[in-house]
């Protein structure tokens, strides 16, 4: 069965790039523009993996992660944060909220594929 990946980022370029990278790998990629939008998609699309930006308008990535972890649709789903903030606090905050892992931005496609494989097998 094709696994669905939810990409949340306020930049369409980043969302497109995630889709562009992962679709040829046999995944279905759906996207959302911010955390609030992401929560809705999480419930409606039931993704196997979520890749989310942290700094977004409306609802940021950290809030998305903690909300997702409190949601029936989001428990146990791996959530990867995309972060340019290489600061350890940001990662710690994300982890405390329940993030599975992270990818440093700017990311290359190999890294994205590697992390996806690592979390989805």
């Amino acid at each position: 069965m094709t696994k669905t990946i939810l990409a949340i980022d306020d930049s369409k370029a980043v969302r497109d790039m995630v889709a562009f990278t992962l679709e040829p790998q046999g995944f279905r990629v759906v996207s959302a523009e911010n955390g609030a939008d992401g929560l809705q998609k999480l419930r409606s699309e039931r993704p196997a993996l979520v890749i989310t930006d942290l700094n977004m308008p409306v609802m940021n990535g950290i809030d998305f992660i903690s909300n997702a972890r409190r949601d029936a649709a989001g428990t146990g789903v791996p959530i990867v944060m995309l972060t340019t903030e290489s600061s350890p606090e940001m990662k710690a905050k994300g982890k405390a909220a329940g993030a599975t892992g992270w990818i440093n931005k700017p990311f290359d496609t190999d890294k994205l594929i590697a992390v996806t494989r690592k979390l989805l097998g």
Partner: protein, 720 residues
């Protein structure tokens, strides 16, 4: 990387740069609200993120500094004082340039680039500065830049790994199985499950973690690759990785590693010590339900949290759709045809000899209203606020100010006024030119301003507003105003007007728009670029608009640009002139009236005036102005009272008024060139082509108006 994604990135950059500029302008205006600061940070941050993905290193490096400085502001470690704000504004301009260079090629001013970087670096604290030299391609995997002195020979190594997940790890979506799979890719892996902690079946708490694994990995890969596998679960498990053979040599590295991990599992004969709880437990843990150990398995479902997300939906941006402009334009053309089609249909039906037309007319009226709704809807798609345009202008003023050594600020008003996209695009050059001129010629030097009792900082006010179906753009400066004696002298010197010309103040001001006019004493490298205000005027008239200047010596000048709301459809009055059907734009008509002989007064040899309620206005014979021959000698009986931009009223004499309707504007450019008095053409309901008149130029060509003007001037001279 796909080109289209890069296009998307650049499109986004435009928006992000606008957001940056908008935020900085607000900050410059004294609004230091954290949300504003955060918005700028986010925009620059997104540009950096995208640029990194496309390997635009120069852009990344600059955006990174910009962002870092802003982060300091965000963290309240830096104060937004005037000097910093100016630097940030200039950095934002430079960021625009870098994006443009990345997109279109070409080169940026390297000296300027380095100067800004150095200036920004001054605001960046020491340890942050080091970060900026870190190579940007972080994606490649776990290379530790410092660990160069590790042995690099690919010797085989055996690691004994003890892995005991905490229950929190399962809440983060990490799966031991996938971790083992990743390890297996590195070499030979033996997996041994340790289930000794597993309680009896009835005592199982599903939220608890009982299992541990002892793994033996034989690999030639370096140690950090092995550690990288557990990257995401550090702090969420008890983990020890013990190298075989060179245990002693590794002890130091292990200690360092453990320090880095923040956890210090003591490794004694495979017996794992409890790892300290570094991370707060995820909020999800349903302890309340599952605490009693005897609780049946099925009951320990996670507690649902229902209403948290709903509140987050409020205030989100309205969903938008990106559409190619071409598709919208196709729709606009189709709507234009629909409107023509409607009027043809109406005409055909009117020609039919049907006894009872009421039903048909009702339906036809409905058709007309629908067509108008569609047209307005489509037009509103093309309509955009002038805000981005105005924001770009702030930069023009900044640059012009620094090039001339003057201090000016741009104040904008009515930024949300919506104007057709094409109009906005084509306004950019004329506005740039007017603003440069305003800074260069209008605003005085700071010292002159001070001695003249003015604020040292010159103010240029750029405003947009809707005015009865048109858009009005005003550029008002508080500078010296037009130097009329000098303007007149230059016009005479250049042979643009005769030496003895009698001109009103307003006429002298408008000499600026004559081709080949340039007032700069020495050509400055700013506005003196070989184009004069005539180019501005042409650009504006090319959009179907008008431009006008008023000026008060010592107080400043105001340029007023009036533009049609749309370039495609307008409301017009259908009239007949010498047996020709013509259309007059409804926006220029103040009122219409039927005239009688006693209202007409002669003035001079060939001028006539219309007396309306005690006032006289010159009569402009439209047929005469267009060079049309009248069949009979009957004077035209209907007058359209129109008002020009300068507030002068005239009466356009036509034979008859037929109808008031929407007409589709068809440009005559490239068909027959420019015709004085004619703005464009349209297709009427009967399929005939009708000219759309330009009242302003008809009045200019009329002898009555000229005679009236002379008369008025003489009266003024007598009065003064």
């Amino acid at each position: 990387m796909s080109g289209s994604i890069q296009d998307t990135f650049f499109e986004e950059c435009e928006e992000l740069l606008e957001a940056t500029d908008e935020g900085l302008t607000a900050i410059e205006g004294g609004n230091h609200d954290p949300e504003v600061v955060n918005a700028v940070f986010r925009a620059v941050h997104s540009i950096k993120g995208g640029a990194g993905a496309f390997g635009l290193d120069e852009l990344v490096a600059f955006a990174h500094r910009f962002e870092t400085v802003f982060d300091e502001v965000r963290a309240n470690r830096l104060e937004l004082e005037q000097k910093l704000v100016q630097l940030l504004l200039r950095s934002s301009d430079h960021l625009c340039d870098l994006v443009a260079t990345a997109r279109d090629g070409g080169e940026t001013d390297e000296a300027h680039h380095n100067m800004l970087i150095a200036a920004l670096d001054e605001y960046i604290p020491e340890e942050e500065e080091d970060l900026t030299f870190e190579p940007m391609g972080l994606g490649g995997g776990g290379f530790a830049p410092a660990a160069i002195d590790l042995p690099t020979a690919p010797t085989e190594e055996t690691y004994r790994i003890r892995f005991h997940p905490m229950k929190e790890m399962y809440g983060t979506g990490n799966e031991p199985f996938f971790l083992f799979q990743a390890l297996k890719e590195l070499g030979d892996l033996e997996i041994k499950l340790d289930d000794t902690e597993l309680p009896g079946f009835d005592a199982i708490d599903v939220a608890e973690s009982y299992l541990a694994w002892d793994l033996v990995l034989t690999t030639t890969e370096p140690r950090d690759k092995v550690e990288a596998v557990f990257e995401f679960v550090e702090g969420l498990c008890e983990l020890s990785i013990e190298g075989d053979g060179d245990a002693e040599a590794d002890a130091a590295a292990l200690a360092a590693l453990e320090a880095a991990f923040g956890a210090a599992p003591s490794v004694e004969d495979g017996e794992a010590a409890p790892a300290p709880f570094e991370q707060p437990a995820p909020a999800q843990a349903p302890e309340a339900e599952s605490a009693p150990a005897a609780a049946p398995v099925a009951d320990a479902a996670p507690a649902p949290k229902a209403d948290t997300a709903k509140s987050e939906q409020r205030g989100g941006p309205k969903p938008t759709l990106r559409v190619e402009l071409e598709r919208v334009d196709r729709l606009i053309n189709a709507v234009g045809e629909l409107i023509i089609n409607h009027s043809m249909l109406a005409q055909q039906i009117a020609n039919l000899d049907v006894a009872d037309m009421r039903d048909v007319e009702t339906e036809l009226e409905g058709f007309k209203n629908l067509a108008r709704d569609i047209q307005e809807g489509v037009m509103s798609i093309r309509a955009q606020p002038v805000k981005p345009l105005f924001q770009r202008m702030a930069r023009i003023v900044r640059e012009a100010s620094s090039a001339t050594g003057k201090t000016c600020k741009l104040v904008t008003e009515g930024e949300n006024t919506e104007v057709d996209k094409t109009v906005i695009e084509r306004l950019s050059d004329p506005l740039t030119h007017i603003l440069r001129n305003a800074v260069d010629h209008g605003i005085e030097k700071p010292e002159d301003r001070e001695s003249g009792g003015k604020n040292k900082v010159g103010e240029i006010r750029l405003s947009a507003s809707h005015r009865s179906g048109s858009v009005c753009i005003e550029i008002k400066d508080d500078g010296a105003g037009v130097n009329r004696p000098r303007v007149k002298q230059i016009a005479i010197d250049k042979g643009l007007i005769p030496e003895n010309a009698e001109l009103t103040d307003s006429e002298i001001d408008n000499l600026l728009f004559l081709p080949g006019f340039s007032t700069a004493k020495e050509v400055s490298n700013l506005s003196g670029r070989g184009v004069g205000m005539d180019v501005v005027k042409n650009a504006v008239t090319g959009l179907g608009g008008r431009i006008n200047i008023t000026s008060t010596p010592g107080k400043g000048s105001t340029f007023t640009i009036i533009l049609p709301l749309t370039l495609a459809v307008m409301d017009g009055m259908v009239v007949s002139v010498a047996d020709q059907t013509m259309v007059v734009p409804i926006t220029s008509i103040v009122e219409t009236m039927r005239g009688s002989d006693d209202m007409i007064n002669n003035l001079g040899a060939d001028g006539t005036l219309l007396s309306i309620r005690g006032n006289f206005v010159p009569i402009c014979d439209v047929a005469g102005a267009l060079g049309l021959e009248k069949k009979d000698d009957q004077p035209p009986g209907v007058y359209l009272l129109v008002e020009t931009e300068t507030g002068q009223r005239s009466a356009l004499a036509v034979d008859d008024i037929h109808d008031q309707r929407q007409v589709v504007i068809k440009s005559l450019d490239g068909v027959c060139g420019e015709i004085a008095g004619v703005a464009a053409a349209t297709i009427l309901g009967d399929g005939k082509i009708a000219m759309i008149l330009d009242p302003e130029s008809i009045i200019a060509a009329s002898p009555s108006a000229a005679a009236f003007d002379t008369e008025r001037r003489m009266n003024n001279a007598v009065a003064s």
